[in-house]
């Protein structure tokens, strides 16, 4: 099987090389991981050579797109999400598509939605069992002395999940109350890490850190089982779906304004919404497919899917995000300086 895959991949590459295929430049965030055979199949069927270009996380990617808008570095972009969509639209770097009514939920206005997921709190089951501490019931519990020094969050200025989490608290409480909540969290010893990797692998108690609650994704508990040597029967972590602590992130794809190969770019977007890719997404990028009726890998039983979320709409995010992050930075990071 492996041999077959490799041979077909090589022959696809050779064919692509021989036929001087057109090139389609795809800009993605660094988590892009659609399986190689699927990409090779797309190349073969469309006589195109895909150039996948990774440009950091979603925020960095959009900034690079904006910086190079005069001379775009890609024809199509994938991985743009509802936290960054407003910024990209305001900068005019995407080609506004005629609002095609597409199946699938949820939607990403201004682009074509491909997948979605939730940013929320994860907790370390073993830690709470050992300390016999009841789980917090609401966000405000995290500001109580019993939960002092237990939470690690990502800096919303430098991390997508960090920003998403901040947005969900603001959407749930309103700006004033949310900022007061963050001030109390700060006084109760919330730890701020630069990004998800630092928070999850250095500070989260599951991985040798000291904090049993971390801002992560609702699919992380399933990934913990998937990427475990002895194939765990239960996940060592679980979601802590507190009201006001769940953000729905929708990722999509769009044509880059000034890019080439518009027809191929549209085909690529359709390809990302095809059954094969939609089925591949859950266990390669740990997001849920937007197309209905796609069966999930059984490992997803370990990830409780949130029933509700508090997510501001794109216009609210676009208009206020920078101001909110600035306020948050002053309150949580720069206080006392």
């Amino acid at each position: 099987m492996q041999l077959f895959k490799t041979t077909s991949l090589i022959s696809a590459l050779l064919l692509a090389g021989l036929s001087h295929a057109a090139e389609l430049r795809v800009l993605t965030h660094s988590s892009f991981a659609v399986s190689k055979p699927l990409l090779a199949e797309f190349e073969q069927q469309n006589g195109v050579k895909l150039s996948i270009i990774k440009a950091g996380d979603a925020g960095e990617m959009v900034n690079k797109l904006i910086l190079t808008r005069a001379n775009p570095i890609a024809d199509v972009v994938y991985g743009i999400d509802n936290t960054m969509m407003g910024k990209a639209t305001a900068a005019g770097v995407l080609l506004p598509e005629a609002a095609e009514r597409k199946s699938g939920q949820p939607q990403l206005p201004g682009a074509t939605s491909i997948d979605y997921g939730y940013v929320t709190l994860n907790y370390d089951k073993a830690w709470f069992a050992k300390k016999q501490l009841p789980l917090p019931k609401k966000l405000d519990d995290l500001t109580r002395p019993a939960y002092k020094d237990l939470l690690v969050v990502e800096n919303p200025a430098t991390s997508s999940p960090g920003l998403a989490f901040l947005l969900s608290t603001i959407s749930a409480m309103g700006e004033t109350r949310a900022m007061a909540f963050w001030a109390k969290l700060r006084d109760n010893g919330v730890k701020v890490s630069k990004g998800w990797t630092e928070a999850y692998y250095t500070d989260f108690s599951r991985n040798g850190g000291a904090r049993p609650i971390v801002v992560s994704y609702a699919t992380s508990p399933a990934a913990e089982v998937f990427y475990s040597k002895e194939k765990l029967s239960t996940s060592p972590t679980a979601n802590l779906l507190l009201p006001g602590a769940v953000f729905q992130q929708v990722e999509g794809a769009a044509l880059v304004k000034g890019g080439q190969q518009a027809a191929l770019a549209r085909k690529f977007i359709a390809f990302l919404r095809s059954d094969a890719v939609q089925k591949d997404i859950p266990t390669s990028m740990w997001m849920y497919p937007v197309q209905p009726g796609i069966a999930l890998d059984p490992v997803f039983q370990h990830a409780e899917k949130p029933a509700a979320h508090t997510t501001p709409n794109q216009q609210q995010i676009a208009a206020n995000s920078a101001g909110w992050v600035g306020k948050w930075t002053r309150i949580v990071l720069k206080s006392g300086q």
Binding site: R25, G59, N63, L67, E224, V225
Partner: protein, 515 residues
């Protein structure tokens, strides 16, 4: 052709390279910001703290490296003990270690639930320790070389005149070793002040440096004007230090060693001194690497080697080796030309520092703005590797060229040897060790260069560094374990590059024995 014209010709290629890959990108970024610097940028107390801390941590690292390095160097230079020459050689090891590996080692030691049981995270000590890991060996080596320049006869004379060892140190050894230390400390300050990777990985929110601030301003806030202003401020400070260094280093050219002091066996309490010195060396320069090894062993014990049986690991290994090899070739060419051109030219010598002192973040984004159509192309990626790697070759060779005795080639010429023969038989053998050392540094830089991760990347260009990041970007015990294994692999690869290039040939060993 005149000497001047010849030098200009040699300098053409490296200067054009620096212009295209470093100066123009920076200018392009500044232009994009259009000087719209925030009013009161430098009045912001948060930013003032960043600048102050950047200076402070570099200064503290210098002082600590001096206070620890000098006694250790003295013991290594003066005492004879089994494994002495090996220890001197191993001093180079931290310097070739990729930043990511070092940071993972430091965190494994002093992070939360670190191997030593002390959590230094969110304290300034983590970054300072990391700084010392890289820079202490630098100071020790410089001090050793300085101590080796003191004629044994002078020490003997001082002793005969009744000076105590302490007095001998202050009146004879210290003045001789001082310029060597000063030049090494310039380098330490430069690395610590403009350091990016280590500060990003170890500084946390509070103890990050200006360079990390620049990264956040450009990459996340798209605030090019403020970032540019900060980059210029950095350039001002580092430019002064780099010029000072180039000036100091030129004065250090020490052609021939006359009767160097032979190391002697320590006696009585002196053994204690030696053991303490070696323990300090191990604590600062050895422990993080051992920690990486230990964590990798733990990962293997938990998950086995199967984590490495992976298409991606092979691809990353191949790419890391391939890119490093190509970058080293390019660096060798540029380094030779730059070193030859910089013979006797202070400003060309200082220019070799440009890739270190120009903010790598600004260069990365400047390149993106300047050459968008090539920004995801392999030649540009390799050129960026070479940009960061070639100064090592240039500087190492420039130092060796300075200490080349000028009359030897002249003598060979007057005996009728052709210029080519003079080079092959006289100059090349004398330059070879420095050239190889430069290549070792260049290879190690290319293997683990952190700043390159700022550039656009392609899945087919996966390297070990990017793969470690990729693995650490996903939850799950297997991902964490394989990241640790890969870090260990990267460490071994750097070690291998170091051994291949730096290990003395049989002829050199023979020469050493005879002397």
């Amino acid at each position: 052709m005149s000497e001047r014209g010849r030098r200009a010709g040699l300098a053409l290629l490296p200067l054009a390279f620096l212009l295209l890959m470093s100066i123009l990108p920076l200018l392009r970024l500044l232009q994009e910001g259009q000087g719209a610097v925030s009013t009161g940028l430098f009045a912001d107390r948060y930013l003032q703290w960043r600048v102050l801390w950047s200076l402070l941590q570099a200064a503290v690292s210098c002082v600590a490296a001096l206070l620890i390095g000098l006694p250790v160097a003295w013991c290594l230079a003066r005492y004879r003990f089994p494994g002495r020459s090996l220890s001197l050689r191993l001093l180079m090891l931290p310097f070739v270690m990729p930043t990511l590996v070092a940071a993972m080692g430091v965190l494994a030691l002093f992070g939360p639930q670190g191997l030593l049981g002390v959590n230094l995270q969110d304290t300034p000590w983590l970054l300072l320790y990391g700084n010392l890991f890289f820079n202490l060996p630098l100071v020790i080596r410089a001090a050793c070389e300085g101590l080796a320049q003191i004629p044994a006869s002078r020490l003997a004379a001082a002793r005969t005149l009744g000076a105590t060892p302490w007095r001998v140190f202050w009146r004879v050894e210290w003045p001789a070793v001082r310029p060597w230390l000063l030049s090494a400390l310039c380098l330490v300050f430069l690395y610590c002040f403009s350091g990016f990777g280590l500060a990003l990985l170890l500084g946390g929110q509070r103890y990050a440096t200006v360079e990390v601030e620049i990264y956040q301003l450009v990459s996340y806030e798209l605030n090019l004007a403020d970032a540019g202003a900060l980059a210029l401020l950095m350039l001002l400070v580092t430019g002064v230090i780099a010029t000072l260094y180039a000036w100091l280093e030129r004065r250090l050219a020490a052609p021939l060693k006359v009767d160097p002091v032979l190391p002697r066996r320590p006696q009585g309490m002196e053994w204690l001194q030696l053991v303490a010195a070696l323990a300090l060396l191990l604590l600062f320069a050895g422990l993080p690497l051992l920690a990486v090894l230990w964590r990798a062993v733990q990962a293997v014990a938990a998950s086995g080697f199967s984590l490495l049986h992976d298409e991606e690991v092979l691809l990353a290994l191949g790419n890391s080796a391939r890119f490093s090899a190509m970058a080293v070739l390019l660096a060798a060419l540029l380094g030779w030309l730059h070193a030859l051109a910089a013979r006797g030219s202070l400003w060309l010598r200082a220019l070799a520092f440009l890739p270190f002192v120009v903010s790598p973040v600004c260069v990365a984004f400047g390149l993106l703005l300047l050459y968008p159509q090539w920004s995801a192309s392999l030649p540009l990626l390799l050129a960026s590797y070479a940009l960061l790697a070639y100064p090592f070759v240039a500087r190492s060779l420039a130092g060796a060229l300075d200490s080349l005795p000028r009359h030897w080639p002249q003598a060979a010429r007057s005996l009728g040897a052709s210029p080519l023969r003079v080079f092959a038989r006289v100059e090349w053998p004398l330059l070879r060790p420095a050239f190889r050392r430069g290549l070792a540094f260049a290879a190690a830089t290319a293997l683990g260069e952190f700043a390159v991760t700022l550039f656009l990347s392609r899945p087919e260009w996966l390297t070990l560094t990017t793969l470690i990041y990729q693995r650490l970007g996903r939850p799950g015990a297997d991902n964490a374990a394989s990241a640790m294994l890969l870090a260990c692999l990267l460490m071994l690869l750097a070690l291998l590059a170091f051994l291949i290039i730096e290990w003395p040939s049989a002829a050199e060993r023979q020469l050493r024995k005879e002397s």
